[in-house]
Structures are given as structure tokens and as C-alpha cells.
Symmetry: C2
Subunit: 350 residues, 2 copies
Amino acid sequence: MRRRPTMKDIARRAGVSESAVSFALNDRPGVSAATRARVRRVADQLGWQPSTAARALSGEGAATVGLVLARPARTLGVESFFLQLVSGVQEALAARRLGLLFQVVEDVDAECAVHRRWWAEHRVDGLLVVDPREDDPRPALLAELGLPAVIIGAPGARPVPAGTPVSRLWADDAGAMASVVDHLHGLGHRRVVHIAGLPGLAHTRRRIDSLRTEAGRRHLTDVTSLPTDYSDAQGAEATRRVLASARPPTAIVYDNDVMAVAGLAVAAERGVSVPGDLSIVAWDDSVLCRTTHPPLTALTRDTAAFGRQAATHLTALLDGAPATDLRAALPRLTPRASTGPARGATPAAR
Amino acid sequence: MRRRPTMKDIARRAGVSESAVSFALNDRPGVSAATRARVRRVADQLGWQPSTAARALSGEGAATVGLVLARPARTLGVESFFLQLVSGVQEALAARRLGLLFQVVEDVDAECAVHRRWWAEHRVDGLLVVDPREDDPRPALLAELGLPAVIIGAPGARPVPAGTPVSRLWADDAGAMASVVDHLHGLGHRRVVHIAGLPGLAHTRRRIDSLRTEAGRRHLTDVTSLPTDYSDAQGAEATRRVLASARPPTAIVYDNDVMAVAGLAVAAERGVSVPGDLSIVAWDDSVLCRTTHPPLTALTRDTAAFGRQAATHLTALLDGAPATDLRAALPRLTPRASTGPARGATPAAR
DNA sequence: TGACCGCACTCAAGCGCTTCAGTGGGAGGC
DNA sequence: GCCTCCCACTGAAGCGCTTGAGTGCGGTCA
């Protein structure tokens, strides 16, 4: 059990005052090059690192950003999305020696409570916010607390009050949905079901709306969206229901990889051939989509890069950059064997 | 942007000194019941929360525990294991208002550097350590730093130096492996391949060893373990190799769910019927195992409970409890359709 | 009635760092 | 040769909290 070295130790060994040490180590003017070098050497030698607690207390911020995941435990731990996102976030934060404070809670209210607590406890300098909702209390809260933040997957319905350091990273769901509809329409599909995610989330609404828009543009009137909770159970359930209906769809679009795989299993169990009788598209690519049989056509996006972009922008906000809306790269459709020509259709000209 | 209320504010409003406030809010003797109540009321009213920075600085600890994941990014974000674990950890920590500082790095050396830095920066009071290795530098480091920790999945080869506040939470891989071998042997399998995880990890070694022991006990001499990096790619690769060998196994045990699914896909692609020609067992159950076709026989364990147990014990260590070795619940085998009688074998008496 | 005690509370120092107001001395200007 | 200015550095306060050493006061006991 070693004692942690402090600036006082460095000051003593280098024969200067504490303030000189502070100046030297923080690249501030006021010390000669020689002294600076000497202080640095001693600090290295002692293995000194600034105490974040002390830094935070003297107004420098906590060197930490927070991320809260508000999802019931049961829908957690399956999707590749979050760990990928976090791993990208880390990369950007580690470069700035920022820590990531992480918490999983049950719902948005609990998330707000955590944000409030972190703020009051002086724990974080900024926040990454995921899963924006249609009726989202968080932007207002962030504005009240004045905490810099990046909302990932925004814009939601609720705009961010002006003048607050809150940026939004926007995934182009409409564009992505257009590419999916293009693909399916080109293969001759006319009856499409969209098995969507949690109904309260902003991107669920956006996907549902753009499906309707894109379908209308191509004169497909027979499209439906069914919300779920993203779990394999509900994905399977919904699939079973639509396949048993009077006029089952010839293609299904799933809002995540897990449900798509579950849907594929349901098709297999009912003797529905994929892609012969039914085409399947998954939103978000992952190992899952590649290892099923047949492998699934999926919307591929670089989730880690997404996280990196969000975190990088957050560090810019912390440095005082103005808040903006930014746009993530458009996901691209990776066609695999789970989509094919609609039964009995002559493929439209591409 | 509100100013955070401090104890000074409370003191002023309640008409007492700051120390009285501190005593009142920390349930220490030295204030009358009336004053205590008044102070509490004012604190609530102001929405006061203690500044962790200030607390940490005055010797109270950072109210945070750390968790570092040392895995290359490519093997991340697929397994259900970690998010589940973390969600369990959170539950136990949230009850004590402890934060979780989380970081993903590339390898153990980087992990050690992070531990050192967190210690020097005063950021964490304790650590959760995962993926113990055969030749693990971390126990010695923890001892040097004197940081309380729980090593999850231990014991590794390297014991923890005595007198350090480091406990080990032990998963009974031998017992689990015994149940797997039992199951397969009972179905008449005599040639079994084990597609294992990262070779450096302690539990990989333990599983390999116990497979050998259990096989020996039942006079199966034809067992092999092949290490991989846990990725679907290597899982598929290894499967391809063993299926193409002169005497392919009749059963394969995979060290995680992802590789098992990948292996199943390889079997399908080569026209090997499961479970007709090949039985498959996955170590760690998840949605994946339930949604494949056929669903996979898997070793089910309550990963969230595992995390909860680890975190709960860590809080005990922080409270000064002595370090011990504890044992997690034995995983149980969930038989599904991916395992069946070995081709041409008369099942042994069960 | 005075010595003593314990209770309820205040004071001030200190945790490790930043920062602002000095301070001393050497260089430069006239 | 003296005044000024600037550079390199020091001193001390302060961030919000804990804590051990006081302080004053009402009550008990001889």
C-alpha cells in the first residue's frame, strides 16, 4: 500500500514552490524552461498523477463523462449495439484521459434522477444521452443543469432549448429506410411489415414515418409497422402473428438483429422458406446476421465510429465549442441471402 | 445553469455551523434530534447532494469502483456476458450509491496502466477484475496499490498475496464441464472436440483440464481442445477444420454462444445434420442459443446474479470485511435440440 | 455553593490542487 | 547610477467536506 505522491512532494524534491509545480505541469507561462523540465522529470520519477478529486474541487471539472442506459434488464445484453458504441466512445475519451461513468437503470425517470445526482455530486462534466424519446424530459433537464451533452440518435420531437451546450448526433433513419424500401421494391415486394422497436423512442417513430413515406412514393399501400420491446420474444411473437394473417407479407424489416434472427427461426419452424416465401432485413448488422442460415441482409453501420464521433464532439463541447447538430454516416445496406425476389413477382426495373 | 448548493448554504439557512451540518447529515452524535431534523429538511429542500470530489479529498474515498475490460475491440460487443454482468453489478452498486467507472482497453498491460492511473488519480475505491489469466500481473499490482478488489472467475494460477483486500469469486468450471461430459457421454458420444476461448485465460485452462479429467474418468480418450479468440470467425474456422478431419467428432463443445452459433452455421453449410451427425453444446446461454435452428443445448448461468454477487462482496471489502474466496452457483445444463444420440451408438445407461 | 461533567455546538485545520496578488532581482533605458 | 519593467517564482486563499480540539452552558453531586 503506497502513499500517493502529491504536488507537495514534487515541490520539495525539485526545490520550488507548489505553484511553480502547478504552472510547470499545466504548461502555463511563469516558469523557465529549465525548471519546467526538472519538475516534469521529478513528477515522472515519482509516478505522480493529478488527483481528480482535488482538480474537481478547484473548479477544473471531474474529468469524467456519464452514460446512462435506460432499458429494462431483460432487453439488455443481447444487442451488439451498446458495447460497440461504448467501445468507440472509450477510444475518444481515453485520448483525453476522461473517464466514463456508466449506469444501467430501468426507465427514463430513473435516468433523470441519476443525471441530477451526478450533477449535484460534481461527478461528471458532460453526458452522453442515448435513446431519445418522443416525449423526452432530458433536454429540459440538461438545460436546467447546464451540463454539456451529446444526444445520440436525435433529433427527437423535443428540441433542445437554445443556448445550452447540448449537441445532437443525428442518424439518418429516413435515408436508411429509403435504401431498404428501394431494395425490397426492386425485388418485387409489395406487402411489407416492419417489426419496430420500443414505441416511445424517437427513432422508432422516424422509421415508422419514413417507411410510410417511402412506401407511398412507390405506391405500396400495404405496409404496417408493429412496435415491440426489441426482445427476441416479442420479435418472434409479432412474426408469428403476421405470418398467420390472411395476407401475410412477402418481406419483413426488423428494427434490430436479435428480432430478425428470432423471426428467421419462426419462419423455419413454420416451414416458410427464406428468401423463397419471405424476405428478411435486419436493422443493424452483427455477427448474428452473418452466422444464421441463410445469412441476413442487414443495414450496416459502424457503431463504434458512431460512438467515437459522439464522444469527440462532447470533448469539443467541454472545450467550449458551440453546440450543433451533426449527422452520422448513412448506414449502407448489405444484401445477403435472406432477401430475394418476391414470389410470383416480376422484378421491377432497377 | 444552477449553482450547486453546498453545506455552507445549508448551515446558513439552518442557522448552525458547517460542522453541525456535517454531523447531522452523516448520522454522527453531537447534534440534537431537533437540529438534525431541521438540517435534513433544509438539505432536502435545497436538493443538496454531497460533492464526491470534496468527500474524496477529505479522505472518504471516491464512491466509485472501476471495471476494465481488456479485450480487443473485435471480440467485443457480441457476447451477452459482459452487459449482463455489468447490469448485475450496477444493481448492487446503486444500492450503495457507488458509481461504476468503466473502460475498455486492448490488453492486460493497458489494463494495469489504467488501474495504476485510477489509483494515483484517486478515482476509485475498489476494482472488479475480470478474465483472470494464467500468468496474471494484476494480483501483484492490486497488492502493491492496496486497492480492494474482487477477481471474477478466479482462482487463476497466480494466488493473491496474503493480507491484501482482494477476494476471488470462483465459477466452478470443473463441475460444469462434468455435467457437459455426462450429458454427451450418456448420449453415446465418444469423440468430442472442445473449441475453447482465449488461451491465456485461467478459465480456458481450467475447462481444458477438466475436460481431460472428466473424459479420462469415463474412458474417453478421443478429446481435443482448440483455443480461439472467442470470435465467430475463429469458431467457424476451427469447426471447419475438425469437420474436415479424418475422424470428425460426434460432438463439439463451444466456449461461448457466438462460436457455437457460428459452428452451427458451418455444419449447415457443409450439410452436416445437427443433432443427427453432430451434437453441439454452448457454454453460456443467451437469446442466440434459443433462436437458432435447432436451438442449442447450453450451460445456463445467471450472469447478472454473478455480477451482483461480485459487487456485493466488493462493497463488503470496502467496509473492511476480510477477503475470502467465494463460489458462484454451479451453471446448469439446459438440454435443447442440438444434442442427440451419437450416430450408431447405443446410448449408455444413464 | 462550587467543582465537575457531558452535551450541543463552533472553530479551524487540512485533504491536493489552482490561481491571483505579490515579491525580488536582473536587464534595459535614459 | 537610478528608475522602471518584466520575468520567474512564492504565498496564501479557496474549492466543499471531515474531524479533532475547543467552548459555553445547564444540570448533578457533595
